[in-house]
């Protein structure tokens, strides 16, 4: 009897201890981290990377392994599906489980995470960032560009020649021709950015000064519906809807796959897609053309994403993260990965571009000659593409009767909703 009682009370205490241990796990970890004397040794330091580009996840993990072998610092790469990256990041940051390195798309996002971004202005490699490509907030550099990227019409050179898509008339004619041949003239995909996010960039960027245009739009002084460029954009979208299969059935993978298989003549994509296209045995040449909105003959080139460091982490971890970015942007291995494995067009002038794939070459050529239009999307309200533009675009592709002009009016409403 006595024995049983003792058993019971020891069991009880055991459980209590477990609970207490579980509850105090958080503070215990913190205490360990802030102990600078111990974590001064780099070997037990650990950094985490949470980044938005699904295309480079595998390569980044390989890079992390190499870095760990070289320096002993453990690098953990967290996965994401891409589309709701910023929301996931927000959740992690809020629960104090944020990564040490994360990606920031643009200045609007940086503004929202103001209290988290680490000032990188004093790092050596910052001076190598190509002019105008650094992510700056209040005069401080807070993001290092992944690389320069460009998008437009990725086309199959066997099926399309540049003069086929030089302006609205030829564009429509080409789509109609392909429709008759049972080929998809222009492929989009259902995911937010590939459905509307990238292509909507064009009418904005073609404004004389898109910064002030966007400000006016937000203030309600202009509407897209009354702007000529957007009206023509509406006609382009109408032509796409009428002459191609609905993109709402098509995933990103299928979009690329159909193109690689020759079932699509063109897709609206960027140079990042080449990695996946080359996974297929493609037996034709490919290139990138501008979307000929109002006769536009320039590719849209900008920075898709930037590396940023979480300043809320303790000093040692921030330093380790800084070291990692430093290594990535200055070491030979880092450069090799950026150029060869990630397939990025370097945005830092100290990185040799080396041999580029045809799409990146087109982007680099455009970038070098200055024949580009900007990425106005980096000035969009945060989250507008998945939250507001995408439902509008889905509605447009679903209802057969909706005209391009009505679509633009929907986009106006979407904009109002996003900035309210």
């Amino acid at each position: 009897m006595k024995f049983r009682k003792r058993l019971l009370s020891s069991l009880f205490i055991g459980v209590l201890m477990l609970i207490l241990a579980a509850c105090s796990g958080d503070s215990g970890g913190e205490g360990g981290k802030s102990n600078d004397g111990e974590s001064g040794k780099s070997s037990d330091q650990k950094i985490t990377i949470f980044q938005s580009k699904v295309e480079i996840s595998d390569q980044l993990e390989a890079l992390a392994k190499e870095y760990e072998e070289e320096t002993g610092v453990e690098v953990e790469v967290w996965g994401t599906t891409g589309d709701d990256y910023f929301q996931q990041l927000q959740i992690r940051l809020n629960s104090d489980q944020g990564p040490s390195i994360f990606s920031l798309q643009n200045v609007t996002e940086a503004e929202r995470l103001k209290s988290y971004v680490h000032d990188l202005s004093d790092e050596d490699y910052v001076e190598h960032i190509a002019p105008g490509m650094a992510l700056e907030l209040d005069g401080k550099v807070v993001g290092i560009p992944y690389g320069v990227e460009g998008f437009g019409l990725v086309y199959n050179k066997d099926l399309v020649s540049p003069e086929d898509v030089a302006d609205y008339e030829s564009f429509v004619k080409t789509l109609e021709k392909f429709k008759a041949e049972d080929i998809n003239g222009l492929g989009l995909a259902k995911d937010a950015y590939f459905l509307i996010g990238h292509i909507i960039n064009h009418p904005f960027s073609l404004q004389d000064d898109f910064y002030s245009y966007i400000d006016q739009l937000t203030a309600g002084d202009v509407t897209m519906a009354e702007t000529e460029t957007f009206q023509e954009f509406g006609k382009f979208m109408e032509a796409i809807k009428e002459n191609t299969p609905s993109p709402l059935d098509v995933s990103y993978d299928e979009e690329i796959g159909d193109f690689a298989a020759g079932k699509s003549a063109m897709i609206h994509q960027g140079n990042w897609a080449y990695g996946m296209i080359s996974d297929f045995d493609v037996d034709f040449e490919i290139g990138m053309l501008p979307l000929p909105l109002q006769g536009n003959d320039k590719l849209a080139v900008g920075v898709g994403s930037n590396w940023a460091i979480n300043s809320e982490k303790d000093e040692a971890e921030v330093q380790a993260a800084v070291d990692f970015l430093n290594w990535l942007n200055t070491s030979e291995t880092g450069h090799k990965y950026i150029v060869e494995e990630f397939g990025f067009v370097p945005a830092l002038t100290n990185i040799e571009a080396g041999e580029l794939d045809p799409l990146s070459q087109d982007v680099l050529d455009a970038s070098n000659s200055g024949e580009t239009i900007a990425w106005s999307q980096s000035y969009f309200p945060a989250g507008i593409v998945p939250n507001d533009f995408t439902p509008a675009a889905q509605e447009f592709f679903l209802s057969k009767d909706m005209t391009g002009q009505e679509f633009i009016e929907k986009l106006d409403a979407a904009w109002k909703n996003a900035v309210k």
Binding site: C23, L93, S115, E312, P391, L398
Partner: protein, 291 residues
């Protein structure tokens, strides 16, 4: 002596659960009420501004919230009906003298173990690819098309998948209820010459009332709160046509970064769910009969 020992056992088993429940439900809930009175973008280090009841007033003008409220109501009505009808039907089936009853029971319960997220992705594939293909092959393309691309059918698709998931679960509850009905009552009714339908209506259903109470409560509350199937199957699309309550709140908080306003919605949401389920439990409890 005996009493204090029992109490010790009692604490031993309940304490961990109370602690867990408090940390993941009670405390966040109270914090949520607190945040509902602030204007805050949900980012820890950014300022919170006290706005009083403004968030709740603002709610009255949010048409998207009302649209999603209507969709949620519609979804719940359809889902509760179909889950319980199908679940009860299965329960009656596997308690009858069916040779494969045990196998059937396991198989019907299986979807519940898979989890809504994966189930949603599997069915997304079935609706997008298999249905479309089936329509092309059989010619019934007014039934077999991609349901997820039609604003109306996408909601039906959700009801379908939700039923697929939950029917097995409520079946188990109904089975327990059916097995609790004494054999002799049934036998007596047989001797009195009652046919199958009469037995079902006059004996089985009234005696099943406690099971109805539980099943209805479970399906009602989980249909109202559904998020996983919603996210993986339709993602709220097409064109926000299937954005239900929980997703609307999530989008408000994380999509638009209106943490305070989203919390206000969540509080209102809680009140609605509580009111409806309590009413339901009250009503069905009243109809339960004592043996």
């Amino acid at each position: 002596m005996k009493n204090s020992k029992n109490r010790l056992w009692y604490i031993l088993f309940v304490a961990p659960l109370v602690l867990i429940f408090a940390t993941v439900v009670v405390i966040p809930f109270l914090m949520g009420i607190y945040y509902a009175f602030f204007q805050w973008d949900g980012i820890g280090a950014n300022p919170k501004v006290f706005v009083g009841f403004d968030n709740f007033k603002h709610l009255l003008t949010d048409t998207r919230f009302f649209k999603s409220a209507w969709l949620t109501t519609l979804f719940t009505i359809l889902a509760v009906a179909s889950v319980n009808i199908v679940g009860l039907f299965f329960a009656l089936l596997v308690t009858s003298k069916l040779r494969t009853a045990n196998a059937a029971r396991t198989m019907i319960f299986m979807p519940y173990l898979i989890g809504g997220l994966i189930l949603g992705y599997i069915w997304q594939f079935i609706f997008t690819d298999v249905f479309k293909r089936l329509g092309e092959l059989t010619g019934f393309d007014n039934v077999f098309f991609n349901w997820l691309m039609d604003p109306q059918y996408a909601l039906y698709a959700m009801v379908f998948v939700f039923t697929w998931q939950m029917a097995g679960y409520v079946m188990i509850i109904y089975i327990a209820g059916i097995q609790g009905i004494p054999e002799d009552v049934i036998e007596a009714s047989k001797i009195d010459g009652a046919n199958g339908w009469q037995r079902l209506r006059k004996i089985i259903f009234p005696l099943l009332m406690p099971a109805f109470t539980i099943s209805l409560f479970l399906t009602l509350s989980s249909a109202f709160k559904v998020y996983d199937v919603n996210l993986s199957l339709t993602g709220g699309g097409p064109a926000n046509a299937t954005e239900l309550f929980a997703m609307n709140i999530y989008n408000e908080i994380f999509g638009y970064g209106n943490y305070g306003f989203g919390q206000a919605k969540a509080i209102v949401f809680f009140l609605i769910v509580a009111a409806i389920t309590l009413t339901q439990v009250y009503l069905t409890k009243k109809r339960e009969v004592e043996m």
